[in-house]
């Protein structure tokens, strides 16, 4: 058992796809809300295998993509300070703010660095006490425990030159926001497995019940996604709406109670603007008042010089709500590419536009390029 390869076996995938098709009596529309799942679907051609039976819609499953322009502009303003080293995950560096991205800031001399773990950012602060280390914390609930652990550790070790610009987002309120939007086409959700590894399923039960919507907590390998889809189809066919867990090897109904307690100690739930969706009530995490001394927004007065601006032609908002498939955007693959992205979904290795660009550009071109 290696927990990866077994779930990518072509023969098993074909059998599982046949099983989904056997169960579906109409073309159900099922949305996944994790960019990792989006990439698996496109890389393995699951959407094509299920064509005619199930339409897979891609939701706002990429924390990098939904990080607001305001937050990016704030990060750019902080990076411009000569005493600040701005640290984040790699994908954040190429997301366009109102005027340029963090890579551009680095090219102009700003000290901007990439880490694999928030704990690495903390070690950087310990090693370089003369610098102010600001960690731009993006991510779903999956990432929050690691960031919380770094902050708690900074407090215990008395690391005064470490602070965090918190842009964490929470998935359940976004499901409600998507389902409530007038152009919603979703019959069921595949919930992001790793978010629920941490948080469990308790927040999803009332959503499934009140919105009459099947929710299946699903893993990231092709076989996981097909089994999750099969479970969602089964509920839809029977007129049921509850939370099922497909990803049982990693998700317990209660989540990881230790990680949840850590997150609860360091953070509090706040309203947060999601790029493309608007302000999501309860859609974010911010530092709790007892950890306010680690809040970069309070530590530094820097604000962006001008009001945030979205790139005009980019339709990232429609893509993130599942209302538009990336190839339907006029800029896709033409004025917008991973090398020169107009919007975040084309930047991130989890973004839906980047996934279509990587795995489906040939199909799109052959449909008749201009």
């Amino acid at each position: 058992m290696r927990f990866v390869d077994e779930y990518r076996d072509p023969e098993r995938i074909l059998r599982a796809a046949a099983e989904v098709k056997r169960r579906a009596t109409r073309a159900w529309r099922i949305m996944e809300v994790c960019g990792g799942q989006t990439h698996t679907i496109l890389a393995s051609g699951l959407d094509q295998l299920l064509e005619g039976s199930v339409e897979l819609l891609h939701g706002p499953g990429c924390p990098v993509c939904v990080t607001s322009v305001e937050t990016l502009d704030r990060a750019l303003a902080l990076a411009a300070r000569s005493d600040v080293t701005l640290v984040s995950f790699g994908d954040m560096l190429r997301v366009p703010g109102s005027h340029g991205d963090l890579f551009g800031a680095r090219a102009r001399g700003a000290d901007v660095r990439v880490v694999y773990s928030p704990l690495d950012a903390l070690e950087l602060a310990v090693k370089r006490p003369q610098r102010e280390i600001v960690f731009l914390a993006v991510g779903f609930e999956t990432t929050a425990p690691a960031v919380a652990s770094a902050i708690q550790s900074a407090r215990k070790r008395d690391v005064a030159n470490f602070s965090v610009l918190v842009a964490h987002v929470r998935v359940p309120p976004a499901l409600i926001a998507i389902r409530s939007s007038p152009d919603c086409r979703v019959d069921a959700f595949l919930a992001a497995g790793h978010v629920c590894t941490v948080m469990g399923t308790s927040e999803y039960e009332p959503i499934a019940r009140e919105l009459s919507l099947p929710i299946v907590v699903t893993g990231f390998e092709p076989l996981d996604l097909l089994q999750g889809t099969a479970l969602a189809v089964e509920q839809l066919e029977r007129g049921e709406a509850r939370v099922d867990i497909q990803y049982r090897r990693a998700v317990r109904p209660e989540g990881n109670v230790h990680a949840r307690a850590l997150v609860r100690e360091i953070f509090e739930v706040v309203d947060r603007p999601w790029r493309g969706i608007g302000v999501v009530p309860g859609g974010g995490l911010a530092l709790s008042p007892s950890y306010a001394d680690f809040d970069a927004e309070l530590r530094f007065p820097e604000r962006a010089a001008s009001a945030p601006q979205e790139p005009g032609v980019c339709r990232a908002g429609d893509v993130l709500r599942g209302a538009l498939r990336p190839p339907e955007c006029a800029a896709f693959g033409r004025s917008c590419t991973p090398e020169r992205p107009l919007g975040a979904p084309m930047v991130s290795s989890e973004g839906a536009c980047a996934a279509y660009f990587r795995y489906r550009l040939a199909d799109v071109s052959s449909e008749g390029a201009p």
């Binding site: 099983e19 994908d91 991510g139 990432t143 690691a146 070790r157 850590l262």
Partner: protein, 92 residues
């Protein structure tokens, strides 16, 4: 030992914000006051914070995200997914 990153066929490194990768714990110790394990990812060894999986010990498979173990993987449940497609097509 063969190593495939969490994402096969991807030339760029994926330090993604929701990717978590299974690895096997070699041993558990302490680093800067945090419970930290050496974890083997098919030949690549990395330090991983196991502060919130207190039950995890040497030999256990953990799911790791951003240098942080999120959960101990359940082998029985892992095999059930595979059994689903080899069964009679009944409910997984």
């Amino acid at each position: 030992m063969e190593w495939r990153s969490g994402w096969s066929g991807c030339a760029r490194g994926r330090a993604d914000v929701c990717l978590a990768v299974p690895g096997r714990i070699l041993d558990v110790g302490d680093e800067h006051g945090l419970r930290t394990a050496r974890v083997d990812f098919g030949g690549v060894r990395k330090s991983v914070c196991v502060e919130t999986v207190p039950e995890a010990g040497a030999g256990d498979w953990v799911l790791v995200h951003a240098g942080f173990a999120l959960q101990v993987l359940d082998e029985v449940a892992a095999r059930e997914v595979l059994a689903w497609v080899h069964g009679d097509g009944s409910r997984p």
